[in-house]
């Protein structure tokens, strides 16, 4: 039986891991990872522009360490799928990038990850040097499983200042102001809010904030820990009603489901002045900086999600990705080396490196270096926001385990474009597996 299972797994995972082996072999660092008794630790990260800093840290680490770190990258949005196919096999890394929360829950359940209590007992700095609201995202079942390793990504309401000025309005501070602003902008023939609904997770951002503002963070906390009844509560329905009110007011236009953020559609709407606002993660800044530097210099505005009068959630609460994390595999052969490597995540070099490319680390020493960041004003604004936030809600699709993602995405899209009503949305959310 054992052999059959192995055969089965080999066959199914075969294709994916074959591709992985090839790509891992291709990006330098040959040699076995966990197995084989080599003097290496493999660090697996999401492949993008931030790899520059990660590579630099690995080099720094390798200068003094006997056990060498090897950086492996998986490019693109397939990171999570590929990670899942290799993590229980021979190519499993020693340390890997993730989003905390539900994204690592299945690995914890499968007993693959190492709780970091021992590391922290030996070096309390691994915990005390990070902002608590961020560090807590990677706590699963009361045990810490991740060390923050990139920048924080709160979702902010970005705006085109020129468009707002032309329409004679200012960025809204409350929900009612938002509705008035929408009316004024529509009268001018401008789509009030750009939305890349084709991506679905962008639509989800509106739900995250509405639920937080109307029902307070507790509702989602309960829901994600298994109390499905909260989805049917009066608060939940009220959040959906308010959202519906905004949609029906024409705030998003009529073709948002055909627009995407990922191919630059919705940022183009904002930058070209065809839309006035976009609710997006803080990476919107670097996205726009890349494509429309002139617009960013003169007209890009940013602010928090509006407050909702009479709602249970404070206006300082945030939603988004608190940060990314490094988690450690239980069967790593070099736990001491890994612990040493993780210490670099609160080093001055790490903070400076991340800030220089526009990321905002969530270490307590970040404040010292804000002046040296790519845009000090923006970084300082974000840092203060994250520091004073009473609650930082991890994106719903990351807070739930991956098995829930598709259902969440379909539910938010269908409710938003009117294919389904509140009852269907509630039923869909109640069908999700708990984290």
């Amino acid at each position: 039986m054992k052999r059959h299972i192995r055969l089965l797994r080999t066959a199914v995972v075969g294709g994916a891991s074959l591709a992985m082996t090839l790509s891992l072999a291709a990006c330098g660092g040959s040699g076995d990872s966990a197995g084989g008794g080599s003097d290496e630790i493999h660090v697996l990260v999401y492949g993008d522009a931030t790899n520059k800093v990660e590579k630099q840290l690995v080099d720094t680490f390798n200068k003094t360490s006997k056990v060498k770190a090897v950086l492996d990258t998986i490019p693109g949005a397939d990171y999570q799928s590929k990670l899942q196919t290799i993590i229980s096999g021979k190519q499993a890394p020693d340390v890997f990038f993730n989003w905390g929360g539900g994204s690592i829950k299945p690995f914890v359940d499968a007993g693959l990850l190492m709780p970091l209590d021992d590391f922290i007992a030996k070096d309390p700095g691994l915990k005390s040097h990070f902002l608590p609201s961020v560090f807590d995202t990677a706590v699963v079942g009361g045990k810490p499983y991740g060390i923050p390793m990139r920048g924080t990504q709160p979702v902010l309401l970005f705006s085109n200042k020129k468009v707002l000025a032309d329409a004679g309005v200012t960025a809204p501070r409350t929900w009612d102001e938002l509705l008035t602003t929408v009316k004024a902008l529509k009268a001018k023939g401008i789509t009030p809010i750009a939305l890349g609904g084709g991506d679905k997770w962008t639509t989800q951002m509106w739900f995250q904030y509405m639920y937080d503002r109307v029902a307070g963070p507790e509702l989602f906390q309960k829901a994600v820990s298994g109390d499905k009844s909260v989805w049917a509560s009066a608060d939940s329905r009220k959040a959906l009603d308010k959202l519906k009110e905004l949609i029906d007011a024409g705030a998003f236009g009529t073709n948002y489901d055909s627009v995407k953020f990922t191919d630059g559609g919705s940022p183009a709407l904002l930058a070209s002045g065809k839309a006035a606002f976009e609710l997006m993660g803080s990476w919107e800044y670097s996205t726009l900086q890349d494509a429309y530097p002139d617009f960013v210099k003169s007209d890009l505005g940013y602010g928090p999600f509006p407050a909702v009068e009479g709602g249970k959630g404070g206006p300082d609460n945030l939603a988004g990705n608190t940060n990314n994390f490094y988690s450690v595999l239980k069967n790593t052969e070099h736990p001491e080396a890994v612990a040493e490597f993780l210490k670099l995540m609160y080093s001055d070099e790490f903070v400076k490196g991340q800030l220089s490319i526009g990321n905002l680390p969530t270490t307590t020493n970040t404040a010292k270096f804000l002046d040296g960041s790519a845009n000090p004003a923006y970084s300082t604004y974000q840092y203060d926001l994250v520091k004073k936030a009473p609650h930082f809600q991890l994106s719903w699709d990351q807070a739930y385990p991956p098995a829930a993602t598709t259902t969440i995405h379909q539910a938010v899209q269908q409710f938003f474009n009117g294919q389904t009503g509140p009852d269907a949305f509630i039923a869909a959310m109640q069908s999700l597996p708990a984290a």
Binding site: R9, A11, S81, S88, F107, T254, N255, S258, D263, Q413
Partner: protein
């Protein structure tokens, strides 16, 4: 064809052996089983073995971590109750039928035209075949950009596209999927029809012309009947391609809006690599195999493919 080939295996081998030892080959023998052996081995290794494993996997619960655990008929009963699954099968069939209905007439006409001797024909044909050379991924990304409601063609042609919400409605999204695959795959089928149209004996046309038949009558009474076998071949390719449509869905619509373009192949991918539910994904895969088998059996019956005989002399 295999039935015709099997009995000749011995004679082929003998003739080959004789050819080697004494005199040069008197001619190539008929295809024997030995010729098919490499293909058979590969087919077994990469088609039959995985198929069996998928059957096993469909009775288990497995998220890709650790070992699969036996789950009995759980995946199957859940799947048959799943409205998205039923919808996805219909969508697969719908996409297939639409593909065949749209692509067949276009590629027959183009293929027959391309088989002629008109001026500039070669140049134009070469242009037609360009889409075939492009990767479907690139093609999908390209069309997604062209059809962007705010910056693409719809923003310039509001009289035709309205607000341009092509990917936000089921009709629009299905339309785009059919259009893009037609754009990409018509050249392939045109190529097949071109070859077949060129093989039609010229004497038939000469005779028809003498009898006073015009171009249209020649087309319907000579060309089309002569293309019959080719139509079946081309349609089988289209059906197989249609049922397994995946890349265009992944890039153009991601199964949306909602589940409106989630066909079975994409739903299987979602279950396996988004939800990490390999048991259900395997069950969907098997359902798709069943449906495809059923469809091809029906096609074979309806088209009389099973009764077709090769017209090649001696085979």
């Amino acid at each position: 064809m295999t039935t015709a080939a099997v009995p000749t295996a011995d004679s082929t081998e003998k003739s080959v052996r004789r050819g080697r030892s004494s005199r040069p080959a008197t001619g190539v023998g008929r295809p024997g089983f030995a010729w098919a052996a490499p293909a058979a081995v590969f087919f077994g290794l990469f088609a039959l073995v995985p198929l069996v494993l998928v059957v096993v996997l469909s009775f288990t619960r497995w998220n890709g971590l650790g070992s699969p655990e036996f789950a009995g008929l759980d995946n199957w009963s859940r799947l048959l109750d799943d409205p998205v699954m039923v919808k996805s099968l219909w969508l697969s069939l719908l996409l297939t039928v639409l593909g065949v209905v749209v692509q067949t007439p276009i590629s027959i006409l183009l293929g027959v035209w391309a088989a002629g001797r008109q001026r500039n024909r070669a140049v134009l044909s070469a242009i037609y075949f360009v889409p075939l050379l492009l990767s479907i991924t690139a093609v999908s990304v390209l069309w997604r950009a062209v059809l962007d409601p705010n910056f693409g063609v719809p923003s310039q042609a509001k009289w035709l596209f309205g607000d341009g919400n092509l990917f936000g409605t089921q009709t629009g999204a299905l339309g785009v999927l059919v259009f893009v695959s037609t754009w990409q795959f018509t050249p392939l089928h045109t190529l097949i029809y071109q070859g077949a149209a060129r093989a039609v004996p010229g004497v038939l046309y000469e005779a028809a012309r003498i009898d006073g038949a015009g171009t249209v009558r020649q087309f319907f009474h000579i060309t089309l009947p002569q293309l019959r076998n080719t139509v079946v071949t081309s349609m089988i390719l289209m059906v197989v391609g249609g049922l397994t449509t995946f890349d265009t869905v992944l890039i153009l619509t991601q199964g949306g809006p909602g589940t409106d373009t989630t066909n079975s192949a994409y739903y299987m991918y979602q279950k396996a690599f988004k939800s990490f539910d390999f048991g259900s994904a395997s069950a969907i895969a098997l359902l798709l195999v069943l449906v495809a088998t059923l469809v091809s059996l029906v096609m074979v019956r309806l088209t009389g493919y099973d009764r077709m005989r090769s017209t090649m002399e001696g085979v």
